[in-house]
Amino acid sequence: MTDYSIQERSLQPTSARVEHPLIETARMFAGNRAALSGLAMLFIIVVVSLAGPWFYPTDPFEMVWSPFSPPGAKGFLLGTDYLGRDLLAQIIHGGRATLAVGCAAALLSVFIGITFGALSGFYRGWIEETLMRITEFFQVLPTLLFSMVLVALFGASLGMITFAIGIVSWTGVARITRAEFLKIRELEYVTAARSSGASNTNLIFRVILPNSLPPIIVQAALLIGFAILFEAGLSFLGLSDANVMSWGAIMGNNRPYILLHGFTIMYPGLAIFLTVLSISLIGDGLNDALNPKLRNR
């Protein structure tokens, strides 16, 4: 492989070989210190949430000590909540549900958003009119209120909460996807693909969608953070699954005692803050790495 004749070598591009776009993106991302620290932070949070319960098996629902023990008392690092349950155990065990709801809700909204955006951007006409009116309806909807109504009506199960968050947060993805589709469908390589016999499905999934992914990926990353915050907000208002521990649920449970025993709300709040912060940093890093206009500033 290394031994070309001179003739063959002279046919190679003279400048350094161009990299695969993904490698280039990864390099850009790796050069971004904020994004890297966000990634490291999120990695720790995910590992602790997934593996933590095995290493810290204290039942988060079990009353282990007197209520509102301050952090550090009797070996409970973060103290106990209003029922005397171990706060550290709750945070470690609650991470799973919080992250799961965040990811699942973001996935749902990305799915709905891409479907709406792709169909309206590709087919235009009455399809676009209809889908965009529906999108606008969801845009002007008071999101928190609508989710609360959904959860209150259909029960505060984890699945319902995920659905309620996903259904109100997809409009941004839909608009971004549609804008990208409108831009890309006019490009020459779409006409070229059509002229080589590509079907509409083919054009949507193989030609236009892959080329419109970068901004959608960024939006999806930020959506996870948004969904986690939203879940915390619902839980804080008492709309959480009583059988599942989540960071929002801890805050919701201790809400009446916020002024007297602030730490019970501060610690889960800190966990949420760090998670959302790390996701935002990653999202910004992705945005810089994927957007060629911002490159090499």
């Binding site: 161009v18 390589y189 070229a192 002229s195 080589s196 016999g197 590509a198 892959p210 080329n211």
Partner: protein
Amino acid sequence: MTALLSVKNLTVEFTTRDGIAPVIDDLSFDLAPGETLSLVGESGCGKSMTALAIMGLIPSPPGRVASGSISLAGENLLQASETRMRAVRGNEISMVFQEPMTSLNPVFTVGEQIGETLRRHQGLTRRQAKALSIEMLDAVQIPLPARRINDYPHQLSGGMRQRVMIAIALACRPKVLIADEPTTALDVTVQAQIFDLMRAVGKETEAAIILITHDMGSVAEMAERVVVMYAGRKIEEGYVDDILTRPRHPYTRGLIACVPHLLETVSAERPYLQEIPGMVPPLSDFGFMGCLFAPRCDRVETLCWQEKPKVTQITPSQSAACWNLQDAKVRVDA
């Protein structure tokens, strides 16, 4: 001569704010198997629209095929279903576009893009398609094709990309290759290479070629027959030698005179670059019941403003639509 592709009385209309305009107005021509036919004219004359009409890709709305027929080996493509047309595109008729820089999908390797067409139309497996893709890249003279199939379009130069486009277009051995100004965006040095390549590969795959261009130089180099278009109408047709040496329509004559000649230009008789005064009429004037070239013509007569020029059959192979044909003896100063 049995025609492979036959366009008869094709009229394509566009709905504009000013009403309905025929961007292609009663156009007819035949393409024989293996032949290279050139569609010539300025921008906005309906050349590319003709190509899109043959592909069944007229943007609709605002476009619409109003009348006429396009038949490929006897089958009227205008009545074919969309499914049938998808099987025709890229397989029986394929197209090379003007801008190689933007005609390839940037997120897939060139190998995947050639292979995709092959798998779609020929039902090949991934492995077979890959082998054939390498073969095609080799045929379009891309060095080290086995390595190049893993390249992304942005890693290739314009000329290389146009070679890839030709490889994609010819991969399924189509009967007709439509090349829409395939060299306009390329360096002059590369243009000749691409023409040589199209001729060679076209001959090997026995594809008939429709070359769309505004450059009489390309026509002289590539084509066997020429159809000159102006404002959606065919104004002259004939063998390339006849057209170049004895153009009968004033517009064809103008086009030929416009080709710059490096040395000859600097002479007492021809000190400046030639040009045709004025420009192609706006879409709203298309379909005018006189000669659309009349405003720019130096041989214009009263009749030209009143009636659409009749097609005069000059020789069995050459025809022109003009009320005041150039004398055949007057040679072009080219």
